[in-house]
């Protein structure tokens, strides 16, 4: 009589274990021990401990585990209850949310307006560097450098970047115009029996998955098309002057014979300042 009780107890234990959804490194050793126990009569035939110690009963705890695991997943999916957190054992989740939290701290410290005295030691030389480089207030697409083996590669890459930015700006201008007139369009459309709709409900499904993070910390943000209108408009305005300036530089680089003669056969660091390739540093190869 003792053994069936034990087996039922094991089954309930496995069910609860299943609900907790532990990693395989926990499940497999437990099952292994249990299976070895149940296989004792087959390994050593002479040893008969008890009639319930047999192959038939191996299945019971496995069923328990599977039912528990399945229930846990279903509850999580359809009722949005994390069973593991009911048992206060949500360690698995903690590791997942660790990374975003780190980002939060970083952003918070960046936002702090106060300047510590020891920071001044860093800020002052940096400002001098910025002035020397001609960086204004880190405007537009920012400042950075790129390296190329030769002048042809440099020209191709700079032109490609220019075309990418120009295309992007053109699309943004069109979209900004369309979105800013949306009310007008909407009225016209309504009179024709049509309504303006977002193309799919995709973004709402996605949003639910990452609800653990607050909106401010997220690097990927879902926005309504109407809500980006202002940003698109300012981009279109700011970028038009920028694209023109970039264009002048590209023209000069391609047409100016003096530059290309000078540059040929050298390795080049391209210095983008406020998003425009302003300086070209030629490195002298060691000979």
């Amino acid at each position: 009589m003792l053994i069936p009780v034990l087996i039922i107890a094991i089954m309930i234990g496995m069910l609860i274990l299943g609900l907790l959804r532990p990693p395989l490194t926990v499940i497999i050793p437990l099952l292994g021990i249990y299976i070895i126990l149940m296989l004792i009569p087959y390994i050593i035939p002479n040893l008969t401990i008890n009639q319930y110690l047999s192959i038939k009963y191996i299945v019971i705890p496995i069923i328990g585990l599977v039912i528990g695991y399945g229930m846990s997943i279903l509850i999580n999916k359809y009722m949005s209850i994390d069973v593991r957190s009911l048992f206060k054992l949500n360690q698995g989740q903690k590791t997942v949310s660790k990374r975003p939290r780190k980002i939060t701290n970083k952003q918070k410290s960046e936002k702090k307006p106060g300047i510590k005295p020891e920071d001044l030691d860093k800020i002052i030389p940096k400002s001098i560097d910025d002035l020397r480089l001609g960086i204004t207030t880190n405007e537009a697409l920012g400042s950075w450098i790129e390296y190329y083996d030769g002048w042809t590669d440099t020209i191709i890459s700079v032109s490609r970047r220019f075309i990418d930015i120009k295309d992007s700006t053109e699309i943004i201008s069109k979209e900004a115009l369309f979105l800013s007139r949306i009310r007008q369009y909407e009225n016209k459309a309504l009179s024709l029996g049509l309504t303006l709709k977002e193309e799919s409900a995709f973004k709402k499904q996605r949003q639910r998955r990452s609800r653990s993070k607050s909106n401010e910390d997220k690097l990927i943000v879902y926005v309504k098309p109407e809500d980006v209108t202002t940003d698109l408009m300012t981009t279109a305005q700011l970028m038009s002057g920028y694209v023109e300036e970039f264009n002048n530089i590209v023209e000069k680089l391609i047409r100016d014979k003096e530059i290309s003669q000078y540059m040929i056969n050298s390795q080049i660091l391209v210095l983008y300042i406020d998003g425009i390739p302003r300086k070209f540093v030629t490195l002298h190869k060691e000979s």
């Binding site: 920012g142 979105l179 977002e198 690097l219 990927i220 981009t235 000069k252 490195l283």
Partner: protein
Amino acid sequence: MKVLLRFKDLNSLVKYLNEDLNKLLVAKKILEEEVNKESLVDIIEIRNNNVIIQRERITEIKGILDELDNRINAINSLLEEIRDEFNDSNYAGIVLLEFNNGIPKRVLLSQPLTLSEVP
């Protein structure tokens, strides 16, 4: 100041970010080597349609290294978050990369508006 770059889908944004990241890492390595050597370089600048050539020590421009690090970190965080949220699946719609004070900070995703019949 915020400006946006528009991409046709998420994959092209990821491609763009990866390419930029590689370029930045290569440039950083080369610049660091040159700064260590304190090598003399020619700096060609195009200012008001004039070409100005100056010979200077590379250390004159080492200030850009901080900018590079900020940029590399920002791009890495973006790529990591995109990978977390989308794995390798694509998102076609309005994909915008937002530059905040010159650093690529956020990805804005939106859906184009279309006309459909009133339900």
